[in-house]
């Protein structure tokens, strides 16, 4: 965190100053470790084993927050009797089909429940086999069913007992074996965690892509969620799990997504079910209980924001204007389609995939096979110049004249040259004002898209008489789209303020709305993103508020604006006990005021303000009204924190330790080596390496993990061109231990070459005692740290780490594994020209790599269910 989020890290230092204990767990000793009270090195890719060990420690020792767990989590809920655990089936859950999971055996006993995130389209469950007629006729979702529970938590199939059995083998000994963390250190962490959780104290977890960039990335976060729920650290001050986002406003770009499968506010993108109507969409995606029960209000308000007067109740509010997903449209799939000739044009904006995305060679193969490519960036990045100085040109694989792609480079305005918001880790929108005008041809992204839209609209309008009926129908979503932002200045810059107000939404009279609870499905309200509704309440840009801390409460509600409803802590009903009283005076945050008959406290209550703690819903209640006065997790279909996820994940209801796609170790927990539901792409440029006990694994004996330096930003597009940053970290290097240097005769500051099945890159050797060999599964394991900021352009140049990485993805969010891989390293620079290809071919031959290598116990890409895009953090630029 100190490395990649130094500004945010000031608050960790502030907490430390006030007595907080900081524990840092990382394969590498970083600047964060230097500041931590305790540093715990672990093997890259083994975190679920550690978290599982902590969960087991908490469960076995009875350290969980019993009252919290019993009231606020699904610990008591009973799971369907057809469920079988990985502990029963040697590493797979029930329902494994050989190509992913049939999840029906994971459901609660007696009730299907829609997840609040992840895989949410429940078409088959709602409608059985695809049946358009039934879908069209069925308006409301199925009647609410209550799952069975056992409040004593003793039923053998209740979540609590399943959890206990699932993690029973995650002992300190197993943690030592899999993670390389000795028992003394493990106990230090476990005891600190337990001592610092409960009524009086809370613990927070902060993570970044070191946890998400794995073939089990989502399950890492699930494991942390289970631990925090057991300890009662969610919804309370000082608790939580903080996703440290990789770029400014990456949180914003998932809220109002640059992801192909989401609409603004985490509304799922409709799937291409036959004749899918708005009713059918709501039925397959709404939850019976909680705020997702109101999804229709959010969707209709979005459609009204986009198509205005054209969207009416009679035409289903133009629901048919929304695109439909027909399968995989993610960035990795798209690049493969480019290579296969199925994509003509490509916009690359604020990303540098030619060096910044896993398997960079594959990315450039795609770029080289387009009709046109638009790159908008601050600098002449590698994605704009791959055709003349990419590695394929340097190595003689191809020539510029063989590449037909026409490249348009458009200079972009920097954040200092435009108004707008950043939405960061804590969901807080902060407005930034333009400081200077952009120079020359530099334009903001807002300017670019607005004026591009105007031109497309006018071209389509001008040609409407040449268009046939089908084409005219296809043009309508664009022609009818609301596109009326005021502009200012010589360059006709659209008003970002007006865009924010449109996102906030307006009522029937055109006034800015103050809360998403006012959104209606009758077409009277508009909102571009329901969770942002309220940022412009009272016609005030609340993101631009900068009230100093000393002039407001410690929660600081008047600095910026946090979605939803300016709540600074989500699910804060859990900060009070079931009766509505604070768990302790010290941790009082939101509580029930019995005299006023309402929830009150330091923050905006994340609960129906007047719903008393003893409220019980009527049998026919729906949406938020169907939640009890003790159900704090208001987005969940049962109002509870999920220790066990009965739906939403494609690779299992509980986290299980699997080895990374490429690991020098055999999975000793069970015989399933890797996540059996992971997503793979079998292609000649994306060969996988053998692992563990598989023959040839010894050819790639070392673990590597990619990382960022404070001095550079992502793939270097914003830092390698700046002299004052380039001089601070002026060369690509490999960080490794003195022991590995001795083993491979590597010389400090000398050149070395790192080799995988995909590529070989060179860098300088930085020998450091900060990297220590680990003992894991009885053998000494060396890890190599590889920064990924470099490429051929800019002031400081070097090979890109992404040449090494293959594309293997988490199945639920489709993020690639960049944080744990295997490689070989040897002294000296890499060979040039054809010799480089020979080197790689030699390695592949030595390891016996074929198209099947590393694909065991996994589906083929063709069978994978909608193998799609990565999380925004990783799709292009890893972060």
């Amino acid at each position: 965190m100190a490395e990649a989020h130094p500004v945010g890290f000031q608050w960790v230092m502030e907490a430390k100053r006030r007595g907080a204990k900081v524990i840092h767990i990382d394969p590498r000793f970083t600047r964060t470790s230097a500041m931590a009270d305790t540093f715990v090195p672990l093997r890259a890719g083994s975190d679920i084993a550690l978290l599982g060990g902590l969960i087991n420690y908490v469960l076995r020792g009875g350290h969980y927050f019993h009252e919290y767990v019993a009231a606020y989590t699904n610990a008591a809920t009973i799971v369907d009797e057809s469920y079988a655990d990985t502990e029963d089936l040697d590493g797979v859950f029930s329902g494994f089909t050989g190509s992913g999971y049939d999840q029906s055996s994971w459901y609660y006993q007696g009730a299907r429940i829609n997840p609040a995130a992840g895989e949410r389209d429940q078409w088959n469950d709602v409608f059985g086999s695809p049946d358009p007629d039934r879908a069209a006729s069925e308006g409301e979702s199925t009647p609410r069913a209550e799952p069975e529970t056992d409040p004593s938590l003793t039923h053998p199939r209740c979540v609590f007992q399943i959890l206990k059995r699932h993690f029973a083998r995650y002992t300190p000994e197993l943690v030592e074996q899999l993670c390389g963390i000795d028992r003394r250190r493990f106990h230090e962490v476990a005891e600190a965690l337990v001592a610092n959780s409960g009524r009086e104290r809370t613990t927070a977890f902060a993570y970044a892509v070191g946890w998400t960039h794995h073939t089990v990335g989502v399950q890492y976060i699930r494991a942390a969620s289970i631990l925090q729920l057991l300890l009662g650290n969610i919804g309370r001050p000082g608790g939580g799990i903080l996703a440290l986002r990789g770029h400014a406003s990456i949180q914003g770009s998932t809220d109002i997504p640059t992801l192909f499968d989401l609409l603004p506010g985490y509304i799922p993108m409709p799937q291409a079910h036959p004749n899918l109507s708005l009713d059918g969409f709501v039925a397959t995606n709404a939850a019976d209980k909680g705020y997702w029960g109101n999804i229709r209000d959010y969707v209709v308000s979005l459609l009204k924001a986009w198509w205005g007067e054209y969207a009416t109740a009679e035409n289903d509010f133009r629901f048919d204007h929304l695109p439909r997903l027909t399968g995989d449209h993610g960035s990795f799939r798209t690049v493969i389609d480019q290579i296969e000739g199925g994509v003509r044009g490509y916009f690359v904006i604020g990303e540098n995939p030619a060096v910044g995305t896993a398997n960079a060679h594959q990315q450039r193969m795609g770029l080289a096979n387009l009709d046109w490519l638009v790159v908008r960036d601050l600098n002449m990045i590698e994605t704009a110049t791959f055709w003349k100085n990419g590695p394929e040109i340097d190595e003689g694989e191809t020539t510029p004249s063989e590449i037909g792609t026409e490249v348009f480079f458009l200079p972009a305005a920097a954040h200092t040259e435009k108004d707008g918001t950043f939405t960061n880790t804590q969901r807080m929108l902060q407005w930034h004002h333009k400081a200077v005008e952009p120079t020359g041809d530099q334009r903001s992204d807002l300017w670019f898209f607005y004026h591009l839209g105007l031109r497309i609209k006018s071209k389509l309008a001008a040609r409407r008489f040449e268009r046939d009926a089908r084409q005219r129908e296809r043009d309508r979503p664009v022609l009818e789209l609301t596109w009326d932002y005021p502009t200012e200045g010589e360059i006709a810059e659209p008003s970002a303020d007006a865009v924010l107000r449109e996102i906030n939404g307006t009522d029937a009279d055109g006034r800015a709305l103050s809360s998403y609870t006012l959104l209606r499905s009758d077409g009277s309200t508009r909102s571009g993103c329901w969770i942002y509704c309220g940022v412009y309440a009272g016609e005030i840009n609340r993101a631009a508020r900068r009230e100093p801390g000393e002039r407001q409460s410690w929660v600081a509600p008047e600095w910026g604006w946090a979605w939803p409803a300016n709540r600074r802590i989500l699910y804060n009903r859990a900060a009070a006990d079931p009766q509505g009283r604070p768990w302790s005076d010290r941790k009082a945050y939101v509580w029930w005021d019995a005299e006023q008959r309402r929830w009150t406290g330091h923050d905006v209550p994340d609960f129906d303000a007047t719903k008393p703690p003893d409220y019980l819903p009527a049998a026919d209640a729906h949406g938020p009204d169907a939640l009890r006065g003790t159900d704090p997790f208001v987005m969940q279909g049962d109002g509870l924190g999920w220790l066990y996820a009965p739906a939403g994940l494609r690779d299992g209801p509980l986290p299980t330790h699997y080895e990374p796609q490429e690991s020098p170790l055999r999975n000793t927990l069970h015989s399933t080596q890797r996540n059996p539901a992971r997503q793979l792409y079998h292609r000649p440029e994306n060969r996988y390496q053998p692992s563990g006990a598989e023959p040839g694994a010894e050819v790639f004996p070392y673990v590597f993990t990619t990382f960022r330096l404070t001095e550079h930003h992502t793939a270097g597009g914003m830092s390698r061109w700046l002299p004052h940053l380039a001089e601070l970290a002026p060369a690509m290097f490999f960080e490794l231990s003195p022991e590995l240097a001795a083993e491979r005769e590597l010389v400090h500051l000398g050149w070395a070459t790192v080799i995988t099945a995909r590529g070989a890159i060179e860098g300088r050797v930085l020998i450091t005692q900060r990297i220590r060999p680990l003992r894991s599964n009885g053998r000494t394991l060396h890890q190599i740290g590889i920064p990924w900021h470099w490429g051929p352009n800019g002031l400081t140049t070097g090979d890109a780490a992404n040449e090494l990485l293959g594309v293997a993805l988490d199945p639920t969010v489709h993020i690639m594994e960049t944080k744990a891989g295997t490689c070989d390293i040897r002294p000296g620079s890499r060979p040039r020209g054809a010799e480089l290809g020979t080197l790689l071919a030699t390695y592949r031959a030595r390891a016996g790599i074929t198209e099947d290598t590393g694909t065991e116990d996994s589906p083929s890409a063709a069978d994978a269910r909608y193998p799609d895009v990565s999380d925004t953090d990783g799709g292009g630029d890893e972060s």
Partner: protein, 339 residues
């Protein structure tokens, strides 16, 4: 020009202060404001600005307290310094000295973050190796195969800067008056006055000031003299995310540093110590001082810096005595010869 006139006019004060040589000479005759019992080239000095001729209405002495115990090595200070002071990039060299690719202060580097990797024994917090900045690779663990927990890694980071000494030898030796004491008690080079003689370079006990290789002038940190007048803190202190670099009135900083030291000692970090805060040290205390977690040498700082002009009066006195002795001897010879 009356002294009262100087008080009304800050520029006049600067011009007055730009004649340190003159001050030194007058001090030899024992002016009223000279420190009791000491010469004006060393020893405690409450108010260097007043001593340099600023009137009583000059601002408080300002300085830096750099608390290295909270430095996260982000180098934002280095970048902010270069951006504000328009200092150019000065080399894209990977040094191999941990994450330090800046290596030292110089004419185009006025903040420098040192990175020191050490092995320590966690039970005693004692160093296993000294981890001095160096060019070589670290060796493997001395006792191969020994219990891996016998040692832990400690990574020290510290942002170095001009110390703005109470007794600044660079200023004392400057023949052109380019180096001045500012109204804030800091030491500033006026590049349009500097003739590039370079006397200041060996005079500095810390090796801070440096001659620019291209234009030949002497350069170093100005404590952002061009920001202070507008009520702005120096660029480095403004950019520092963890308040490792604290800017303020020196008296307050010294108090704060004592409190911080006490706090760290209470937390068991007995290795914490202050460096440069003591007005009785060899330079009369630094305007920019530090809280360190190890010996100063580990960070590349001199353990016992002494203003290089401290002994000038004594040397002059000795020279005078020697000359007088010689003269007497010669005279005695002549007198004796007459006899």
């Amino acid at each position: 020009m009356s002294p009262d006139g100087a008080a009304e006019h800050p520029l006049f004060g600067l011009a007055r202060a730009a004649q340190p040589g003159g001050d030194v000479r007058t001090s030899a005759s024992g002016p009223v404001d000279s420190p009791a019992g000491g010469n004006r080239l060393s020893g405690p000095l409450a108010d260097p600005s007043a001593e340099a001729g600023y009137s009583e209405r000059h601002p408080e002495r300002m300085g830096f307290f750099t608390d290295t115990s909270v430095c996260i090595g982000c180098k934002a200070c280095e970048v902010a310094c270069k951006e504000w002071n328009l200092l150019e990039e000065d080399g894209l060299d990977l040094t191999g000295m941990s994450y330090d690719n800046t290596t030292e202060l110089g004419a185009t580097t006025w903040r420098h973050v040192a990175f020191v990797e050490q092995r320590i024994d966690p039970s005693t917090r004692a160093r296993v190796d000294i981890g001095m900045p160096g060019m070589g690779a670290p060796s493997t663990t001395p006792e191969e195969g020994a219990d891996s927990d016998a040692t832990e890694v400690r990574w020290l980071m510290s942002s170095d800067v001009c110390k703005h000494c109470t007794h600044a030898a660079c200023l004392d030796v400057c023949p052109t008056g380019a180096l001045i004491r500012s109204e804030y008690g800091t030491v500033v080079v006026q590049d349009d006055v500097c003739n590039g003689c370079g006397y200041c370079v060996p005079a500095c006990p810390y090796g801070v000031i440096d001659i620019h290789p291209d234009n030949g002038g002497a350069f170093k940190c100005t404590l952002c003299q061009d920001r202070l007048g507008s009520g702005l803190a120096p660029a480095c202190a403004t950019a520092c995310p963890t308040e490792s670099i604290q800017y303020g009135p020196l008296d307050q900083l010294r108090q704060r540093a004592e409190q911080r030291l006490e706090q760290l000692h209470e937390q068991g970090m007995t290795e914490a110590r202050l460096y440069g805060q003591d007005p009785t040290d060899g330079v009369g205390g630094d305007g920019a001082f530090f809280l360190l977690l190890d010996e100063p040498e580990v960070y590349g700082l001199p353990p016992d810096p002494v203003v290089t002009t401290r002994d000038l009066p004594a040397m002059a006195a000795h020279a005078a005595i020697a000359a007088a002795t010689a003269a007497l001897t010669v005279a005695a010879c002549f007198l004796g010869g007459r006899r």
